[in-house]
């Protein structure tokens, strides 16, 4: 290890932390949806992709499509509105599709959302370049680099980490510390008793799917200026995110966030030490964790 410069290690750690922030944001949404609805949401990557396309379409295509001159969604507006749109789409999916199979085995939810992901990818692949398009709407305030003391780091990447961490904290707070969160947890644990208290459990389920989908959409918007926006961007990422959720423990909010960040860093480190392993290390760890603790690091053993 001594021949590897510290500088390289630190910069890979920072980039890894940045990737980890995206893993955390996405696996958080997955964990919320799984924990509350017991749906393994394979469409999560597609929702993330929709978020990124939401930003791109708002910036580049909205004016042409609507014919309204000057109608453009700047990055900041996209950051605010696109998660709401993706969340609303999630609510529709829950109300029109998932609700019908809620009483069946979880495998049906998995297959349904997997099919949905393929359809969404197909629709976007049909309308846009499969190779991806750059998003040119990065706000000026977030251009340039910041001196972290030990390295110069792109200001936008720092911002994306901040958004991810703040969102994770906010979601954790809502679920663990508010009355609404207590109702969500109760509705998961015992829907019959919760509804017998006068709580509208179906509406809580919609709200949960909204939250999970909106988080994916938010991650998509934030990712747009960093990664190119293409129909398959979600499918590539989601495999890793699933590994993160499995390692952290399905349904564990804290587990999803911590594991996401940690694995991002680990990937970064492996990239310095032994680059060929970087893309597989997550899956090796997943296999080991499954052997050692099948419920995941933060999951409750059954």
């Amino acid at each position: 290890m001594s021949d590897i410069p510290l500088q390289a290690v630190l910069s890979q750690v920072m980039l890894g932390l940045n990737n980890g922030a995206f893993y955390a944001l996405l696996s958080l949404g997955l964990a919320v949806i799984y924990g509350m609805l017991e749906v393994v949401n394979f469409a999560h990557g597609a929702l993330y992709m929709m978020g990124a396309f939401g930003a791109l379409i708002g910036l580049e295509y909205l004016e042409a499509w609507t014919g309204i001159p000057g109608l453009r969604l700047t990055f900041w507006w996209a950051l605010l509105l696109v998660p709401l749109v993706v969340g609303a789409f999630g609510v529709l999916v829950e109300a029109l599709l998932l609700r019908r199979i809620a009483r069946l085995e979880p495998i049906y939810g998995l297959l349904l959302t997997f099919g949905l992901a393929l359809i969404l990818e197909g629709v976007f692949a049909n309308g846009f370049s499969a190779a991806g398009e750059p998003y040119n709407g990065k706000p000026e305030a977030l251009e340039g680099v910041v001196n972290l003391g030990f390295m110069f780091f792109p200001r936008y990447r720092l911002f994306s980490m901040l958004v991810a961490v703040l969102s994770c904290v906010a979601v954790w707070w809502v679920i663990e510390r508010t009355r609404l969160g207590a109702q969500l947890r109760a509705g998961t644990e015992n829907p019959a008793v919760t509804s017998a208290f006068g709580i509208n459990v179906p509406r809580l389920r919609s709200l949960t799917y909204f939250l999970g989908a909106a988080l994916a959409g938010l991650a998509g918007v934030v990712a747009a200026p960093i990664y190119s926006v293409g129909p398959h961007m979600g499918a590539e990422l989601i495999i890793v995110v699933f590994a993160v959720v499995v390692i952290g423990g399905m349904g564990s909010i804290l587990g999803a966030v911590m594991t996401g960040l940690a694995l991002g860093v680990l990937e970064g480190l492996v990239k310095v030490v032994y680059p060929p392993m970087a893309n597989t290390v997550v899956f090796v760890i997943m296999a080991l964790v499954l052997l050692w603790r099948p419920a995941g690091l933060f999951g409750r053993e059954a």
Binding site: A182, A186, T188, E189, S195, A196, F197, G198
Partner: protein, 248 residues
């Protein structure tokens, strides 16, 4: 909101109307037909005890009133409002509190969170202080995880959390089952207090002693039907018959 308007409208002729009126109630779990036309009613402020053997359908009757069975048919009116087509949460908002047989304390919530979980249904719920005075054990353990409590404490919590909401119709399922005698006494005293405050109570109960001390009315249930219904004052005279039917 609509329910409360109906409640007010119904209140005008409340004198004549039982608070809970169940008629020809049928219920199914999947394909199995469990209730076969249950019929009983409870005037406001009174306590009816549903007696019956294991599997006779007492718990199912309470669940069916709340719409928590696979399918139900017939009529269940609360404050005169027909509830048969309402979803569970709307029925509950008519002012119904339920203690399920399995108590269903939420393991992911603390004692205090369990108490705060049910939304307020009406004015006049018991304040937290009063509940803690009534059940001092709960006050001591307010930060504990719900499922760390003993059976008796869980039962007190299950009762306390519906008293906080202002529910005036209580559906209580085997609330003394499996508890130590001192705790049974404690719960009995609490039910006496609730009766003195004119709560309306449906009690599914195995313990004939508890039922005879608390009930105003008795309904005997067999195979999902009410086979006998009478005033509790007749219980001593009918005791032998009732015991034979219950197999005690």
């Amino acid at each position: 909101m609509r329910e409360s308007a109906l409640v007010t409208a119904a209140a005008s002729n409340a004198a004549a109307m039982p608070l809970l009126q169940v008629r020809d109630l049928h219920a199914w779990y999947g394909e199995s037909h469990v209730l076969h036309g249950i019929r009983f009613e409870v005037p406001e402020g009174q306590l009816i005890s549903l007696l019956g053997r294991n599997g006779s359908g007492r718990s199912t009757t309470l669940r069916a009133i709340l719409g928590l069975v696979g399918r139900r048919q017939g009529s269940a009116r609360i404050h005169g409002v027909e509830t048969i087509a309402l979803p569970t949460h709307r029925i509950a908002r008519l002012g119904v509190g339920w203690c399920p047989e399995e108590r269903a304390i939420f393991s992911s919530l603390s004692v205090e969170e369990n108490l705060h979980l049910p939304p307020r249904l009406a004015e006049g719920g018991m304040p937290l202080d009063e509940l803690y005075t009534l059940f001092p054990q709960l006050a001591e353990r307010r930060r504990s995880q719900g499922t760390r409590l003993s059976g008796g404490e869980q039962q007190m919590l299950a009762l306390a959390r519906i008293l906080r909401t202002g529910a005036r119709l209580l559906l209580l399922d085997e609330i003394t089952e499996g508890l130590a005698p001192v705790i049974v006494e404690r719960i009995e005293a609490t039910l006496q207090l609730l009766k003195s405050r004119a709560y309306t109570i449906v009690l599914a109960e195995q313990n004939l002693g508890v039922a005879s001390r608390l009930a105003d009315h008795i309904a005997l249930i067999e195979h999902g039907q009410v086979v006998e219904a009478f005033a509790a004052s007749e219980l001593p005279a009918r005791r032998a018959d009732v015991e034979a039917r219950l197999g005690v």
